[in-house]
């Protein structure tokens, strides 16, 4: 593959430059997020993000030195440790959800680290798979690998991060060449869980699943299992819903209508939309966004960092950022597709999936198209653990690009 810019020892220099550049933009936006007229935790926090960037660069350098075979050997250990950390968090966790571990100078979010561990483990389990994927039971290994961290994170409770593990599972299957209908059948209980609110919608979904089963002629036991799982999920929906506290329901529903709880769960969404919408075409200018300055915009340095971008740089700035994200995603995807080694390729693709999910869910939340799930925006949101994990992942991706 001579047309690809590839430097031994570094990997893809364009990708490296891009992530460093975007991290720099992120630090600038975190600086801006701290420029407010009221006392705020966010003031001066960009310096910490800068330190984290240094740590993350070290992580990238280190992981890019690991050969893929060494990583493949290391994967179960990393996975094991991250699962251990996720369990540990229940006992010694700190922070608002008890999801952080105090670690000397900083704090670590095991849920973020677990994403990397799960990626490595999934890649090891699925990297050599060749198909033809006759039976759903063939996927028990990746299923179990993702289910463990999924459940542990869900119990924290962190629904947003838990979803990432589901996305990783589907991404791994997708990249391994599993036929899409089978992926659909595997994901169908999750869909039923959503459709369970309305029995007509659920019924239609159930018919589609049944049709899919008929066409693809699964083994009878598996087919019955899929159907039962859908019935079970559909029946569970309202029970889970009823067991949620009001504020939890509101958090999930406000994106449909923020006005149901304008001062509570809807506040974030309304203020984010106001900040972005008032940015207009060209925005208020760097560090000058009034909504942010006057503290109307909550979590402006973490989950809603992009609302600051929208308010201060306007639509033009937003589009430039979207192009940068698209470029980043494409670059990672290109590494994945250029690698023949199944393990390395799958790692790169899983990282791609993590990035895409985070970006879409975070931006969808900022513009009010999706529920407030608390997923950070890659490279832009303040947060050391996620940056560290991303850079470690990027280090591996660079190794993949180098070895390809």
């Amino acid at each position: 593959m001579t047309d690809r810019l590839r430097i031994p020892g570094i990997g893809d220099p364009v990708l490296l430059a891009l992530i460093v550049f975007m991290t720099g933009l992120g630090i600038a936006m975190i600086y801006s997020a701290g420029q407010v007229d009221v006392q705020s935790l966010a003031t001066g926090i960009w310096v910490r993000q800068f330190y984290w960037f240094g740590v993350a660069m070290v992580a990238l350098a280190v992981t890019s030195r690991f050969s893929l075979r060494f990583l493949e050997w290391l994967a179960p250990w990393v996975y094991g440790v991250t699962v251990l950390l996720l369990v540990l968090v229940f006992f010694v966790g700190t922070g608002p959800n008890g999801s952080w571990l105090e670690l000397g100078p900083g704090r670590l979010q095991p849920a973020e680290v677990a994403k990397l561990g799960t990626i490595l483990m999934l890649a090891r389990a699925m990297g050599g798979a060749q198909g033809p994927y006759e039976r759903l039971l063939e996927f028990w290994k990746p299923g179990v690998i993702t289910l463990i961290p999924f459940v542990l994170v869900l119990l924290q409770p962190d629904l947003g991060s838990a979803m990432i593990f589901g996305a990783l599972f589907l991404a791994a299957l997708f990249w391994s060449g599993v036929p899409l209908p089978k992926i659909f059948l595997l994901a169908s209980p999750g869909l039923s869980l959503l459709l369970g609110f309305n029995w007509i919608a659920w019924g239609l979904g159930f018919l589609v699943v049944a049709a899919c089963l008929y066409v693809h002629r699964l083994f009878i036991l598996e087919a019955v299992g899929v159907l039962l799982a859908n019935v079970f999920a559909g029946a569970l929906t309202l029970r889970i819903w009823d067991s949620l506290a009001d504020y939890q329901r509101n958090r999930l529903l406000v994106f449909l209508d923020p006005e149901i709880d304008p001062l509570g769960a809807g506040w974030h969404l309304i203020q984010s939309k106001v900040a972005i919408g008032s940015g207009g075409l060209i925005g208020a200018g760097f560090a000058a966004g009034p909504q942010k300055r006057l503290a109307f915009l909550p979590e402006q340095h973490t989950d809603f960092i992009f609302s600051v971008v929208g308010e201060e740089f306007g639509f033009i700035g937003v589009m430039l950022f979207l192009v940068l994200f698209a470029f980043l995603l494409w670059r990672v995807l290109r590494v994945a597709s250029s690698m023949d080694d199944g393990f390395g390729s799958l790692i790169a693709f899983c990282l791609f999936a993590v990035l895409l999910t985070h970006i879409v869910v975070n931006l969808g939340m900022a513009v009010g198209m999706m529920p407030v799930t608390g997923l950070p925006l890659p490279l832009l949101s303040y947060g050391g653990s996620f940056l560290l994990v991303l850079y470690a992942g990027f280090g591996i991706v660079q190794r993949v690009a180098w070895e390809a």
């Binding site: 009221v38 939309k273 008032s278 006057l294 639509f315 995603l329 995807l333 513009v367 198209m369």
Partner: protein, 612 residues
């Protein structure tokens, strides 16, 4: 084992799908941004402003009101208003609690403020107008404790002459909830000051100007972060200034000479232009007391005082005109019943006259003897005028009086002017007393300004102005911005000038000839002409009237004065010296050269042409 090629092909296909997913997902997100930032940006910009901007009304200074020589009758001085920005109710209540003692807020005031906040939670609350320096200093020194409190410098109304101009000016006060619902106050906000009576009310829309808007930026906690000041387009527009014909000096003088214990009023007009030179009512009040909210006990004492200090006795009260009415009778008699200045009546005055079984008295019980019209005016003989009324007859009299504008308002630029009372037809009597329950004797009473006859000072002054000049009658006017033509009234005073002049002579005799009823109040330098009146009333001693003008043959001022119950038996009439003093002072102010020989100048003895 499948071939690597097949595997690669699948990989390639999936890679393409994934690239499509990038494009698809980011496009959807981009659509969200297009919706917010392109299509809905106006809405969100507005919401952003609503979020962060609080508007504070900047009151426009009311127009200054000047007297005829440019002295301010009403102006503005800076004062401090303490108001509270909108916010959560309990935080407003708690800040009010902390202010309560310092700002002397009564429990009622506090309750009223809280209830207004409930009704209009989005508006700033004016807690106290015209706070003093200590109060402002107290707040400023404790700024962090009073996050919602704004101290504004606002123009406040001031009436330097205070009580002397009260009834003409009226006063300003906070607009009431009821007034807010009226169409003429559309666009007014609660807490705003408006003119409540007098000129302040009459010219509210010219005086008020347009309030400006100031913006303050607040953060998510409602704390003011910075004052953005007043946008150019929303700067307050000061109200229009008004220029009056009033002579402030004369106004103050009238206030100083009006008999302190009495009630009454005095009005003076320029007889040619109808400009009001003086408008004074007594007892009076200090309109400055209303600024910043009048204390409740003071308000109650003003409203419930038996002397009714808030009543404008010049234009909003009517009195039986008494003998001042005799000039109206004379004019109508000359016009309609062939009376002349030399007409003698068939019955001489023996102190009274029988109407069938009822005896009508003259004020002089020993009688005036035989007199003509001129002497009847000079001595104010009732008996002569009973017979004049008889000669005119009831129906012509009622019609003639109506033709002279009595019974309707004069049209002065003051609110709530009271029209005079005079029956327009005999049906009026039928309705009032029942057919057959009254006799033609009502004419006799009407003829001497009693009975079903009540006029305002202003209406009498208006009539005497026409009598004095022979010009087309005009509306009395405080503000000097209408032309004479605009002030014309819809009635005329169409007495032939020779006859009018004879009546002026008679009025001059009243004051300037020994035996005239106002002889003791004649002026040393000018010929004052006028008519006294002693109006019987059911409430006590007769009212003392004087209506006149001077100089008699070149009138510069027409005056009407009344002192209620100001003419008890055997005592001098209080209105006459009051009026003559005011006239003297005004002519002196005008710098009018004294007449060589003040006194009656009958037409036959008109002076030779000047320079001859």
């Amino acid at each position: 084992m499948k071939g690597d090629n097949e595997h690669r092909a699948i990989r390639k296909q999936r890679s393409r799908w994934a690239a499509g997913a990038i494009f698809f997902c980011l496009s959807i997100v981009a659509a969200g941004f297009i919706n917010l930032q392109i299509f809905s940006t106006e809405l969100y910009t507005l919401l952003s402003s609503e979020n962060r901007l609080r508007t504070i009304t900047v009151p426009a200074p009311r127009g200054t009101i000047y007297d005829r020589s440019g002295r301010a009758i009403a102006d503005n001085v800076p004062g401090y208003d303490v108001s509270m920005l909108p916010g959560p109710r309990d935080s407003i209540a708690s800040e009010l609690n902390r202010l309560e003692d310092r700002l002397d807020l009564s429990p009622e005031r506090r309750a009223a403020l809280l209830s207004r906040n409930r009704e209009r939670p989005g508006e700033a609350l004016v807690v106290r107008e015209n706070a003093n320096f200590e109060q402002v200093a107290f707040i400023e020194a404790r700024r962090p404790r009073f996050r919602r409190v704004v101290v504004d410098q606002r123009p406040h109304r001031r009436y330097p002459a205070g009580p002397a101009v009260a009834h003409m000016m009226g006063y300003v006060g906070e607009i009431s909830p009821e007034e807010l619902t009226r169409p003429e106050y559309a666009g007014y906000e609660s807490g705003q000051s408006i003119g409540k009576t007098g000129l302040e009310q009459q010219y509210e829309h010219r005086l008020a100007g347009r309030n400006g808007i100031r913006y303050a930026e607040v953060n998510a906690l409602g704390t003011i972060v910075r004052d953005l000041g007043v946008a150019q387009a929303q700067a307050p527009v000061p109200g229009e200034d008004l220029h009056l014909g009033i002579d402030l000096d004369l106004q103050v003088y009238a206030d100083s000479v009006f008999p302190e214990e009495m009630r009454g009023g005095v009005v003076a007009l320029d007889p040619v232009t109808g400009e009001v030179l003086l408008l004074y009512s007594h007892p009076t009040f200090d309109p400055n007391a209303f600024i910043g909210g009048i204390p409740l006990d003071l308000w109650d004492s003003l409203r419930e005082h038996p002397d009714q200090p808030l009543l404008n006795r010049v234009s909003n009260a009517s009195y039986p005109p008494g003998s001042t009415w005799k000039l109206v009778m004379s004019a109508i008699g000359m016009k309609m019943a062939d009376l002349t200045i030399d007409t003698y009546q068939s019955d001489t005055c023996g102190g009274g006259l029988w109407y069938h079984t009822r005896y009508f008295r003259c004020w002089l019980s020993r009688g005036h003897g035989r007199l003509n019209l001129s002497e009847a005016i000079k001595h104010s003989c009732n008996v002569w005028f009973y017979q004049a009324g008889q000669r005119i007859g009831l129906d012509p009299l009622l019609a003639g009086v109506g033709e002279l504008g009595f019974g309707s308002a004069t049209g002065i630029d003051l609110p709530s002017e009271r029209p005079g009372l005079f029956p327009d037809t005999r049906q009026w009597y039928d309705e009032r007393f029942g057919p057959g329950a009254w006799t033609e004797a009502v004419v006799w009473n009407l003829s001497i300004g009693q009975g079903e006859n009540a006029q305002t000072l202003l209406a009498m002054a208006q009539f005497y102005a026409a009598l004095a000049t022979g010009r087309a009658p005009v509306k009395p006017h405080l503000v000097r911005d209408e032309t004479l033509a605009q002030r014309r009234v819809d009635w005329t005073f169409d007495l032939p000038d020779a006859q009018r002049r004879q009546l002026v002579d008679a009025l001059a005799r009243v004051v300037n000839e020994p035996g005239g009823t106002a002889y003791s109040s004649r002026l040393a330098r000018w010929t004052l002409a006028g008519k006294t009146g002693t109006a019987q009333n059911p409430h006590g001693a007769p009212h003392s009237w004087f209506v006149g003008f001077a100089p008699a043959y070149d009138p510069r001022i027409v005056i009407a004065a009344i002192v209620e119950h100001g003419h008890p038996d055997g005592a001098p009439s209080l209105a006459v010296p009051l009026a003559s003093g005011i006239v003297d002072r005004h002519l002196e102010t005008l710098g009018l050269p004294p007449e060589a020989t003040p006194g009656v100048r009958p037409m036959e003895a008109a002076p030779a042409p000047a320079g001859g």
